[in-house]
């Protein structure tokens, strides 16, 4: 399995010299009079930061952790008394944009690691306490542990590398077994959202499998729940349960009778639909049965009657798709194919011909290169792209933006895959074949080839194959449309969103932030209007027809404003408990976020379909700042009860609206959209 990480390592530096400088600054700190110690800290912290950026950095700091503490680096700070440290706060310090905060947190973790390992008899913490504390820190920072990054890490830049390597270093010494149970829970939570890109999940599962295989790791009762996850990748059926390797498995297939093959097919399908993960063996199997036994294909894909019907109607196309793009490396495409057939979108007249074009598409060198860079040389870039197309059409809500500030483009791809699949296929063809996409802004053509830079200075490689090829174009077009709005009063999304996403995005535009000042404006009118447009009790029970772009003020778990974010509102309806909920798509890679003040975005268990996020209507409204509507259908502002209105506005004031009350003389940062 290919594990793809964006390549951003610091250039080579002389590590020994750097460590020597570190030692000198520690000595300077030790010899310093207490009244002058503060003056020695900036230098020490800066050198330590550079040390930590190096591969051996954590080790070097750990070796000096006791001296650092005794020299007084923690004096006068909360870290001075480790017994009172709170594990959950480490998330904030590790994600801080202040280098000194990250460095002192690293000092503290590494000191406790030294204590936990029994090499440092600390006056106020025991080895057991330190061990327990670090275990909690790891469980809380699992994302860092497995290189899953989000909004906060993006803002943090290179410092995120320190936090990641620190957590990974601590884990390798504390032992992954102590965090495995919370990790397994985390994996299931992510898989329930059925993301297209599962390489992080694969990496985590592989990590667990390695731990379990390691005779030295005493897992105890931990990790039992991992069986299904590991088997879904490394042995989903009887004939490959011991992970024999694809060559051996191929030989076994050749000797199987039809009943055994039938068993294999249902085994694969069950595992795939259970987890959303596809084993490389599954790809071997499907390729094998394609030769003469393709009656098993429907079983192997686990299709319902709808899917089977579709398969039978478009048999040649499906065979071509599998033949050209399903290999052990691209096995994940099978899940996309199965769901694509289930959605029945092949019955839309343009879709099948567009897929035929896709199957024979010649990729331009730029697209080839990006795919090869991210996914390697085996199989061909066209196969990777086809796999990506099938996944995106099968799992439109599984699109993620990766570690890029391109939520707009990711949202557009998802919206098209959901709503307008042949348009998506057209975009992919233009981007992959011609290396240019042309869209129109108020009649004026906007070309991705002739636009200056996009929102993202560089689109990273941690994306699904379609996004990898198309997003750089969309991002440039989106930014160019924004530039065409320069000089217009108000928020540019008013004009950009409908032009960018297509005719189905409402031309009416409501915003509750004054762009010039960043202050809230007509909050009550905005809320009443949103209720009138979207809430079934106030809009005549009209379900939402087309998914609509909307803007969210994202807040962190302490309800502090982080940034503006693009999402899609998919539907508004009662959940199984009878509560009115907004179901929406968040292009962020993991939607299960805690937005603070009790607003916990749910991704399963409240009537969500795969990939949907949901919030009760009121809570959702308290984070909303932009929505679109059809100006011709606009009714009267809803008669929302005072109570409900007050709860929503208070939710705004308690979170991102805190500093945006118009009377406040302080000017907030003008809105900016990812």
């Amino acid at each position: 399995m290919s594990e793809n990480q964006p390549a951003s390592q610091a250039p080579v530096v002389n590590f020994d010299k750097l460590v020597q400088k570190l030692d000198e600054s520690i000595v300077a700190m030790e010899e310093s009079r207490p009244f002058a110690k503060a003056g020695k800290l900036p230098k020490l912290f800066d050198i330590a930061r550079r040390v930590l950026l190096q591969p051996e950095g954590c080790q070097a700091i750990e070796a000096r952790a006791q001296r650092l503490e005794e020299a007084g680096v923690f004096e006068g700070t909360d870290w001075a008394d480790p017994a009172t440290l709170v594990p959950s706060l480490t998330t904030y310090s590790l994600q801080s944009q202040n280098a000194d905060t990250v460095v002192i947190e690293a000092f503290s973790e590494l000191r406790l690691l030294l204590v936990a390992r029994g090499s440092y008899l600390h006056p106020s913490v025991s080895a057991e306490q330190a061990h327990h504390y670090l275990t909690q820190v790891l469980a809380i920072n699992l994302g860092l542990l497995f290189g899953m990054t989000g909004e906060a890490e993006r803002e943090q830049g290179k410092l995120a590398l320190i936090s990641q390597s620190l957590v990974q270093y601590v884990a390798s010494h504390i032992g992954y077994e102590h965090v495995i149970d919370s990790l397994i829970e985390e994996i299931w939570r992510i898989l329930e959202q059925r993301p297209i890109r599962v390489s992080d999940v694969r990496r985590m599962i592989t990590q667990i499998a390695i731990c379990r295989a390691d005779p030295d790791a005493d897992l105890g009762s931990a990790g039992r729940g991992a069986d299904r996850l590991i088997s879904s990748l490394y042995g989903p059926t009887r004939a490959c349960s011991e992970d024999p390797g694809t060559a051996v498995y191929q030989q076994r297939l050749e000797t199987m009778d039809s009943a055994a093959l039938q068993n294999e097919a249902t085994g694969f399908a069950r595992s795939m639909h259970d987890t959303g993960l596809v084993s490389p063996y599954h790809a071997c199997f499907v390729r094998f049965i394609l030769e003469g036994q393709d009656s098993l294909l429907s079983e192997a894909l686990g299709l319902s009657s709808t899917g089977r019907d579709c398969l039978l109607c478009y048999r040649d196309l499906v065979r071509t798709l599998i033949d050209g793009s399903i290999f052990p490396e691209t096995a994940q495409g099978l899940y996309g194919l199965a769901l694509l057939l289930e959605r029945g979108i092949l019955y839309q007249p343009p879709v099948a011909p567009a897929l035929w074009r896709q199957a024979r598409l010649n990729l331009c060198p730029e697209a080839r290169e990006r795919i090869q860079f991210a996914y390697g040389y085996q199989p061909q870039p066209a196969a990777w792209l086809m796999q990506g197309v099938m996944n995106m059409l099968g799992q439109p809500l599984g699109v993620g933006q990766g570690n890029n500030p391109t939520c707009q483009s990711a949202r557009a791809l998802s919206m098209w895959a959901y709503n307008d699949p042949d348009y998506l296929l057209q975009m992919v063809a233009w981007a992959a074949r011609d290396n240019e996409i042309v869209m129109h802004f108020e009649g004026q053509p906007v070309s991705s080839a002739r636009s200056a830079g996009g929102v993202a200075s560089e689109v990273t490689l941690d994306l699904d194959p379609v996004s990898l090829v198309v997003v750089p174009h969309l991002d440039r077009i989106y930014a160019e449309m924004g530039r065409l709005c320069v000089g217009r009063e108000g928020d540019p999304h008013r004009w950009v969103n409908p032009e960018f996403h297509g005719w189905s995005a409402g031309r009416g535009f409501a915003i509750n932030v004054d762009v010039a000042t960043g202050n809230l404006t007509d909050l009550e009118g905005f809320i009443r209007h949103f209720y009138a447009s979207y809430h079934p009790y106030y809009n005549g029970s009209q379900p939402l027809i087309h998914p609509q772009p909307a803007g969210i003020a994202v807040t962190d778990s302490a309800a502090r404003f982080i940034g503006w974010h693009a999402i899609t509102i998919l539907r508004v309806t009662l959940d199984p408990e009878g509560e009115m909920r907004v179901y929406f798509f968040n292009p962020n890679n993991d939607s299960g976020q805690n937005w603070g003040d009790g607003v916990q975005v749910s991704t399963s268990g409240c009537g969500e379909r795969f990939g949907e996020s949901s919030l009760p209507f009121e809570m959702f409204t308290s984070r909303l700042y932009i929505f679109h509507y059809d100006p011709l259908e606009r009714g009267e502002p809803a008669e929302v009860s005072e109570d409900e209105l007050r709860r929503v506005t208070e939710g705004v004031y308690r979170s991102w609206g805190e500093d945006r009350v118009p009377a406040d003389a302080l000017q907030a940062e003008p809105p900016r959209i990812d």
Binding site: P11, N14, S25, R33, P34, F35, G39, P42, K43, I47
Partner: protein
């Protein structure tokens, strides 16, 4: 808290001005000390048990002599100035403590750049053309006259002149004027100023510790670009003038009648090897040269100052303290003063090539407080220093020069 064990046989010194580095050096040394600083330092000194006498150096009146008596009553032997603004205070105090009124006159001489040049001229030291200016007309007249002297015709580019405040440290208030138009940019409140002709030469600084009228340690600091960067010791290209420079400093301390203490003069050496005196200060240099010296040689320059000022220091003691110039240096230490090159900046970002350079040591830069960078009107006022250390003086020089082309604030 002070952990000092001082030697009662040695002198008791007073540090005039607030410098943590100087205080720490004193605290680790064997002389009893007291810090004389404004009253905002009191809380810190009380908290950390630092010996302290409050004094407001800005207030000058007929009670000013009190500080001399306070220190005399404590048994202090000598006062050491740490900043330009405390030089005349040290002179006044020491003239009382040591019963030598000439020390005050000497300090006044060292505080006024015009007087200082006159005195130097009288001592047979070569200086450039200079004059005091009281208004903008004086500046224009001087600019014209200097250029006439140089036999320039109308239309030839002018040789620039330099303007400096009389009594400010280093580069503060230093301006270069080339055309009469530029004269209008000088704010009224900067007058009177000292004007000097431009010397086309190599400018460098010297730090000399003097005891019993003799130079005990002489460092030559090489400027790469004035106001941006300096390193110690100097390259062999400059060190080859050491004998000549030593002779010049000896002439200087004789002319100014300096028996003890520390001098920090600036000179130009022209292409034919002639030395021109620029100015001299009687206090530690700016740009953290003391820290650079400690990095390069390992001795603490503040402690060297304490030895040089203390009347109870013996010959053997001071001879043992200082290393041998240049040969005892472990390497070359330099620093660069960062000034943002862009008009609008949002964050601090040390260039990777700087940060990963083998010579790079550390920096004292802080994130920008404001996004708009004020226009740079005079030399000085950098946003923080970056330190380098390495074995090769030429690599050091080129590295420091190269930093001028990099953005640290973007």
């Amino acid at each position: 808290m002070t952990e000092q064990n001082y030697n009662p046989e040695k002198g008791y010194i007073a540090l005039l001005g607030w410098s943590l580095n100087a205080i720490e050096a004193a605290d680790k040394f064997d002389r009893r000390y007291v810090v004389v600083a404004p009253d905002w330092a009191e809380a810190y000194c009380t908290e950390h048990d630092i010996p302290y006498v409050p004094w407001n150096f800005e207030r000058l009146n007929d009670r000013s002599v009190e500080i001399a008596h306070i220190l005399q009553d404590k048994g202090v032997d000598v006062a050491i100035p740490l900043f330009e603004e405390t030089v005349e205070w040290a002179g006044a105090i020491n003239s009382v403590l040591m019963g030598n009124p000439r020390l005050f006159g000497q300090a006044m001489l060292l505080r006024d750049k015009a007087l200082m040049k006159r005195r130097a001229q009288l001592g047979g030291i070569r200086v450039g053309i200079f004059e005091e200016a009281h208004d903008r007309d004086d500046v224009i007249r001087f600019l014209k006259r200097v250029n006439q002297t140089l036999l320039k015709l109308d239309g030839d580019p002018n040789d620039p002149i330099h303007l400096k405040a009389f009594d400010k440290a280093g580069c503060l208030g230093h301006r270069v004027i080339r055309t009469p138009d530029e004269v209008d940019t000088i704010p009224e409140e900067e007058f009177p100023v000292l004007m000097e002709s431009h010397l086309d030469g190599w400018e460098f600084a010297v730090e000399a510790w003097v005891h019993n009228g003799k130079i005990r340690f002489l460092n030559i600091s090489e400027y790469v670009t004035l106001g941006y960067s300096v390193f110690v010791p100097a390259t062999p290209d400059l060190e080859k003038y050491r004998a000549q420079i030593t002779a010049e400093i000896e002439k200087l301390i004789k002319t100014f009648d300096i028996e003890f203490g520390f001098v920090h003069p600036e000179y130009f050496v022209t292409s034919d090897g002639t030395m021109y005196f620029g100015e001299v200060a009687y206090r530690p240099p700016g740009f953290k040269v003391f820290e650079l010296l400690e990095r390069a040689y390992g001795f603490n320059a503040y402690q060297g100052m304490i030895l040089a000022f203390d009347p109870k220091t013996t010959e053997e003691e001071i001879a043992a303290f200082f290393p041998k110039e240049v040969v005892d240096a472990k390497g070359y230490a330099g620093c660069f003063g960062v000034y943002p090159r862009r008009r609008v900046v949002s964050r601090l970002e040390i260039p990777e090539e700087t940060e990963n350079h083998e010579y790079f040591e550390s920096h004292e830069l802080t994130p920008p407080v404001e996004e708009t960078v004020t226009k740079r009107t005079a030399f000085g006022t950098h946003w923080g220093l970056i330190y380098f250390f390495g074995e090769d003086p030429y690599v050091m020089r080129d590295l420091l020069k190269h930093q001028e082309e990099l953005d640290f604030y973007v």
